[in-house]
Symmetry: C2
Subunit: 241 residues, 2 copies
Amino acid sequence: MVYTSLKNDKIKEIIKLKDKKYRDKYNLFLIEGEHLIEEAIKMNLIKEIIYEEGYENSKFIPTMIVSKSIYKELTFLETPASIIGVCKKSDITIQADKILAIDKVQDPGNMGTIIRSALGFNFKKILISKDSADVYSPKVIRATQGAIFALEIKYVDLKAELTKYKKEYKLLSTDVEQGKSPSKFKNEKVIVIMGNEGSGVSEEIKDICDDYIYIKTNEQLESLNVGVAASIIMYELNKED
Amino acid sequence: MVYTSLKNDKIKEIIKLKDKKYRDKYNLFLIEGEHLIEEAIKMNLIKEIIYEEGYENSKFIPTMIVSKSIYKELTFLETPASIIGVCKKSDITIQADKILAIDKVQDPGNMGTIIRSALGFNFKKILISKDSADVYSPKVIRATQGAIFALEIKYVDLKAELTKYKKEYKLLSTDVEQGKSPSKFKNEKVIVIMGNEGSGVSEEIKDICDDYIYIKTNEQLESLNVGVAASIIMYELNKED
């Protein structure tokens, strides 16, 4: 059977997942392309595998086949991949000595880059303020390149959440004036807090921090891209001596 | 006098700069917003300062004022800034011990991030393959945050150009299998070559390299974002002991 009607209830439910509200409600999101589907299968997070009519692939068995016109409603790529997955949000809990916190990062590309680097440098637990970009939006998912499946990601009231961790972890945010080199904190339990593209970490979060870090750059440059800054800090803290 | 007609020759010339072909032909490009205009003025690269009719600003003196409908044709921002500059491409020559080369990087955001970090970590001379994204396109300019004005940027036949430098500089590209830590090359004259988002540095360029570098990451991650990888390598090579 090929799904051909936008009025079909199952199709309607799936299309809703393009909207953050429904991703939050159902704890589901969409991924597109073979690579991401494969990663989701490995982590046992796949719920549906949807093929565009006519698509052939020996690797995966589709649970649904949809007409070309339905596929057009589902895809979010300029060059559609003909295969989309409905995916459960992971609910793994990770014990970590190094945690990343994200305060109001807005750009989906930056968010994706940060998540991808977090896995690369073993920051496997990530706390995100509720007013940051949605990690489960198609643009972020694409930029993470599948890293999302192996991480614990929690949207939280950031100040309240950080306060709970403060006894056990040193809270670090970036600061141009009083910042120290990130390598100084290598052997400690830390939460690294990265802030908004324009305004940095918010004052109320800075106020509860225990210390500050800074990456030294040529003075002609005002600031690094937040994805780059986050990546370098995590790289330094993860580096073996 | 307020320019109101799209048929005006001067307006026609300026609109052409939205197209790479004409940016290449005239060695001019467009920038939008106060911050970039200010940077361009500092570097003595500004040719025209264009205000949208009704815009007021005490910092800059406009050389042209255009009607709102003309401004709409010129802007490339979702939230137009009401001030656009026509800018000369810089032709500074920089003597550098550390050079960056870019081989087929396609994404404007990645390109902008790399340029911004290059200034931050003192890679002030950049060689770019002709089939890479155009540094002077609005999206890249925005992502560089003005870093572009202080750098020497040359679009070249990359293999031929690198061959010329090979006597004096060590050519380094990334390689997962035989790559060494970037810090090993800190005290040498090097050209760091970064490659395409999907396929990495092309084989013909890898073949002429003298050595290879690699950033160690968690094995669950296939690769870092190219902007992040470039930034970490430049950071390491620029770091003081």
